[in-house]
Subunit: 209 residues, 2 copies
DNA sequence: CTCGATTTTGAGAGCTACTGTCAGAAGGCA
DNA sequence: TGCCTTCTGACAGTAGCTCTCAAAATCGAG
């Protein structure tokens, strides 16, 4: 209902063509009806046909907007932003430092603007195994890009083990914090939780748990 | 062909009943034919019906032995062993120390006994997205159990964030090392690579990449 | 060995996610 | 207005997976 366009990535405003506007409206309708049905009947119990009917489109049209049912939940416009932040960070700053400063600032802003929808999504991701898997895969492919960018500018191999382990464990720590937040009903300070998780990685697991 | 029973978990020997032996033989036949077809035609291009025909069973019987096509590759008898090692470790030993000492010893032994099949599996997991996702999910659920066991004996909450982050990042680091090994054609010292990955976590990501 | 109980199996129908094709409708542009 | 591009719905088809049911194989006891 409310035009809640996130202000963090460049928002293109209303595009000129009627075609474009209709496409956006259809896309929003699909997502809205899908989320409603997921909430009411559960993810697995909701079929694509039902979503299509609720959104008043044909089932085949559904797959023109989203390559799979999972993508209705998982399409994420923030990943490119994350990559960009890390790509443009100063050369002498470690991945982890960049995340704990710049990325967390952006996360705070995302929550402010888009918190409610993020909560819905994360709750679904927490509770539906298929979505959890896809989420991890998606994030890992982003972090692979990040690791490769770091490799390129420091002259390491793009397959450098330490680099990839750093990326993978930062990803895992953030995911774990986000899931803990979702488990707690999306209440509490997500940014603080993510920072706590990352602090542990920074200190190292020498004596800790 | 060769009765290559791994000697690491308790090997039950040949069970008495004919029924049991036949079941094991069928299970092995399915896996053997499946792996052969995967190698020859690829994972996605191989259908369950083809595997069933090659193993001389009906398609419906296939699903009595493996709940899904993915499970032919992913069924892993080592995970309970991993959990057991960590569960029975001394209370004052951190997760990471247990892994870097005891778990790596067991891994070395697994490679010695079962190296070839492990290589086939890891190569499949590396190259088939669906398998990668399931693998991660599977390992994470094991590490959740481990985290809960650690929580119980140290009086923490089973949802303790630091504990879960530690478990998740150890898991991620090991997975990354194993994937790097598979990427290198399953050559080189896997145990050394995993240890390098874990060493980074132990030191912490303060100045590193 | 035989008979009844239990387990395993094959056949087949059915559901859902997803892909591809193709003609026709709708929007854009001169 | 009329042509061109894009979008849409109907339909057929494939693969993974579930469920049911009756026939076959195995097991245990007498």
């Amino acid at each position: 209902m409310t035009a809640k366009e996130s202000s963090i990535p460049d928002l293109p405003g209303s595009p000129a063509g009627l075609r474009e506007r209709k496409k956006i409206k259809t896309r929003q309708a699909i997502r809205r009806e899908a989320y409603r049905l997921f909430r009411e009947h559960g993810y697995d119990a909701t079929t694509v046909d039902q979503i299509a009917e609720a959104a008043e489109i044909s089932p085949s049209t559904f797959f023109r907007y989203f390559p799979s049912k999972e993508d209705v939940v998982l399409t994420d416009e923030y990943d490119p932003l994350l990559i960009e932040i890390l790509r443009t960070a100063p050369d002498d700053m470690s991945m982890l430092r960049v995340v704990r400063t710049r990325v967390l600032d952006v996360l705070r802003e995302i929550i402010r603007v888009d918190g409610a929808e993020m909560a819905t999504r994360m709750t679904l991701v927490l509770n539906v195994p298929a979505l959890r898997r896809r989420t991890y895969e998606q994030q890992m492919s982003s972090w692979t890009l990040i690791a490769e960018a770091y490799a390129a500018r420091s002259g390491r191999s793009p397959y450098d083990l330490e680099l990839r382990v750093a990326a993978a464990s930062i990803n895992a720590a953030m995911a774990e914090a986000i899931m803990a937040w979702a488990r707690a009903g999306c209440t509490g300070d997500l940014v603080a939780m993510v920072d706590r998780a990352l602090a542990l990685l920074e200190t190292g697991l020498r004596h800790n748990p």
